[in-house]
């Protein structure tokens, strides 16, 4: 991972230099009938940033994610992703935009009628002129990248374990080399070893491709060690946005359980206490310099 770390520095330095905003959400409101899910939410995600959304069950995280990936429309407010206003998007532009991001669904969303290799190769087959042999090789590589054995490619999704399903889904999300990756609960239901593998994988992906990653997660390890910034949703509002050490210092009530529970204490004890710790691996807005190659 040494090379990867150097590459993070390059990637993050470019991000800091241009400070390009990849996702911009402004005054977003979502209502289902009289039930208010989002009440005036605004935030930004910058390029090559790893951004996490947290909040209790029913706090509207998944709805927010669905609104970011064009599966659902907010009641009001603007959402700009990769420079495009999602509200004012034509059908062709929507298709073009959708190719620039990858989504890993919580339950995989793999197609039961196709084996894993074809699931991963599907976006390539659908959207590019590459020949079948190359697509299969690329799909095999993406599978290997997510830590799946080559034999898994021939299996059907019904035969996969939960962890394998997530990895295969991630491989499919990566098929078109997206600029933006959405992960819904990437480590939920995984054993600690696999979950640790996901941590490393997310960092490696950003290092290699300069990916911007938006994820919903409750995994404290992922939050502390991988996420650059964390947004806390509760009561329909964005309670706080910041790195975990910053949130720990701010201590908003909605975040407290993440620090005060027995699990939170354990993770926190393992982490450096200083909120402004420069050693924190990923903070593109703070990383002072890049390592020249």
């Amino acid at each position: 991972m040494a090379g990867a770390a150097a590459a993070i520095a390059t990637a993050t330095a470019t991000a800091a230099a241009t400070a390009e905003v990849v996702i911009e959400v402004k005054n977003l409101h979502t209502r289902f009938g009289s039930h208010v899910v989002h009440n005036d939410i605004s935030f930004e995600v910058r390029r090559a940033e790893i951004f996490a959304l947290i909040g209790g069950s029913g706090s509207g995280k998944s709805t927010l994610l669905r609104e970011l990936i064009l599966l659902q429309k907010p009641s009001s407010g603007t959402v700009r992703v990769l420079g495009a206003d999602l509200q004012a998007l034509g059908a062709d532009e929507a298709v073009a935009l959708r190719r620039r991001w990858g989504v890993m669904f919580q339950h995989g969303g793999l197609f039961g009628a196709l084996d894993v290799l074809h699931n991963v190769g599907l976006p390539l087959r659908e959207h590019t002129a590459l020949d079948d042999g190359l697509i299969d090789q690329l799909a095999g590589w993406k599978l290997a990248m997510t830590g799946l054995a080559p034999e898994v490619g021939a299996l059907y999704p019904a035969a996969l374990s939960g962890g394998m399903m997530k990895r295969a889904s991630l491989a499919r999300a990566l098929a078109l080399d997206p600029e933006l990756l959405f992960l819904d609960e990437p480590t939920a239901g995984l054993d600690p070893v696999s979950a640790g593998g996901v941590d490393a994988l997310v960092l490696q992906l950003r290092a290699l491709f300069g990916l911007t990653i938006v994820m919903i997660t409750h995994d404290l390890d992922l939050l502390w060690q991988v996420a650059d910034r964390v947004a806390v949703l509760a009561d329909g509002r964005l309670q706080a946005v910041g790195s975990m050490p910053e949130l720990a210092a701010l201590d908003p009530p909605a975040v407290r359980p993440y620090f005060e529970g027995a699990r939170g204490r354990a993770v926190r004890a393992a982490r450096p206490a200083d909120p402004a710790d420069p050693d924190h691996p990923a903070k593109p807005d703070r990383e002072p310099t890049s390592k020249p190659k």
């Binding site: 390539l124 590019t128 002129a129 590459l130 190359l134 690329l138 590589w141 080559p150 019904a158 080399d177």
Partner: protein, 378 residues
């Protein structure tokens, strides 16, 4: 298809100095460069060098192709050298090289040889036989569960029974009524010409009455219900299997057959004969209407002949078949539902099977009834 870019991936014809690569080597920019890369050869004696300084974009697909090219152009284990690749792409190319090494160290998964016609036929026969055995054992399990319920009437679940009578019976009234009426019209219409030739107009009551009551009403009702409710049974149970709801029932100590199959069975055994009576009525009504319109046989005349021509036996024979059809539809629908495994795909397949097999079953049973009834002179 991704729109072509202004600067797609390109390679200049190789010269003695090597080859020059340019453009965007990304999924959008690669386009149809594959065959040209495969055909590219360095002239003999030239340096195995590729100049990449004009590559403006590189993603994993591009890096993969690039690496493949370098490997192929190089000699005996030494890949061709790449010069001037913009440095932000180095990490990606190194990762590809690593992936290539890993792939080489792993034996490629051996492809299974395709089955021959004989093998496939054999497997098909074995599958069909196994399915037959499974169906028999399912019937047995249902019988045991039904006997258990009869022995302990408190185990009988009345609410699902009533719910199923409504969904499979009452809700099916409009479609069953409409189709039976139309069938009556068609039978009368087709017979009218023949009868008119012989001046036997009034026998329209015999034809419509006997054919509707004995055959058409029970059969059309059963076929509609098989398509309507049989498919619903298979889809419901299949989805429950996929979402582990059936497993949950097992662990909660609720026998799935008690909850999912027996109520449907009881409900349809009650509802299908009643639907058949309804279809009888509307079918005869359709015939009566056409008798008036085509043959000038009035309602009074029609009914007077109908009473003489159609015995109670004909009516009972038709109604008596309905419960048997009901059992066929429920057993096949539920059986196929429980055989679902995997995901959405399998639910669809099992649902189709349940409809095809239950209609098949209904018609076969009807044919058997015809043989038995004619042997018994009914």
């Amino acid at each position: 298809m991704i729109a072509p870019l202004t600067d797609p991936a390109d390679l200049a014809p190789p010269t003695a100095d090597g080859m020059v690569l340019s453009g965007r080597w990304t999924v959008a920019g690669l386009g149809a460069i594959g065959p040209r890369l495969a055909a590219a050869e360095l002239p003999a004696g030239s340096a195995a060098v590729a100049d990449a300084s004009r590559i403006t974009g590189l993603d994993s697909a591009g890096a993969w192709l690039l690496h493949t090219l370098l490997q192929r152009l190089g000699q005996a284990g030494h890949p061709a050298q790449l010069q001037g690749l913009p440095q932000q792409f180095n990490a990606l190319l190194a990762t590809v090289a690593q992936a290539f090494e890993q792939r080489a160290s792993q034996a490629p998964p051996s492809a299974k040889p395709g089955a021959t016609l004989l093998q496939r036929t054999g497997a098909g026969v074995v599958d069909a036989a196994l399915q037959g055995v499974a169906l028999l054992s399912f019937v047995g399990e249902c019988a045991v569960a039904a006997a258990g319920c009869l022995a302990h009437p408190r185990r009988i679940r009345w609410r699902p029974i009533l719910f199923n009578i409504r969904s499979a019976g009452v809700d099916a009234l409009p479609i069953v009524g409409l189709l039976a009426f139309l069938l009556g019209v068609v039978v009368a219409y087709q017979s009218a010409d023949q009868l008119r030739q012989y001046g036997a107009n009034v026998f329209i009551a015999d034809i419509v009455g006997l054919s509707m009551l004995r055959e058409f009403a029970p059969l059309i009702t059963a076929i509609i219900v098989a398509g309507r409710s049989g498919s619903a049974y298979a889809a419901q149970i299949g989805t429950m299997v996929v979402t582990e709801e059936v497993d949950a029932l097992h662990t909660l100590g609720i026998p799935p057959l008690d909850l999912l199959v027996l109520p449907k069975l009881v409900a349809l055994v009650i509802a299908l004969p009643l639907l058949t009576v309804f279809a009888d009525l509307l079918g005869v009504a359709g015939g009566l209407l056409m008798a008036q319109a085509q043959l000038g046989v009035g309602p009074h005349e029609f009914m007077a002949r109908f009473v003489k021509a159609v015995s109670a036996t004909a009516f009972l024979v038709g109604i008596g078949k309905a419960p048997v059809f009901a059992v066929v539809i429920v057993v096949v629908g539920c059986f196929q539902g429980f055989r679902t495994h995997g995901g959405a795909d399998s639910v669809g397949r099992q649902t189709t099977r349940s409809v095809v097999q239950s209609i098949f079953g209904v018609i076969v049973v009807d044919a058997l009834f015809s043989v038995v009834f004619s042997a018994l002179d009914l």
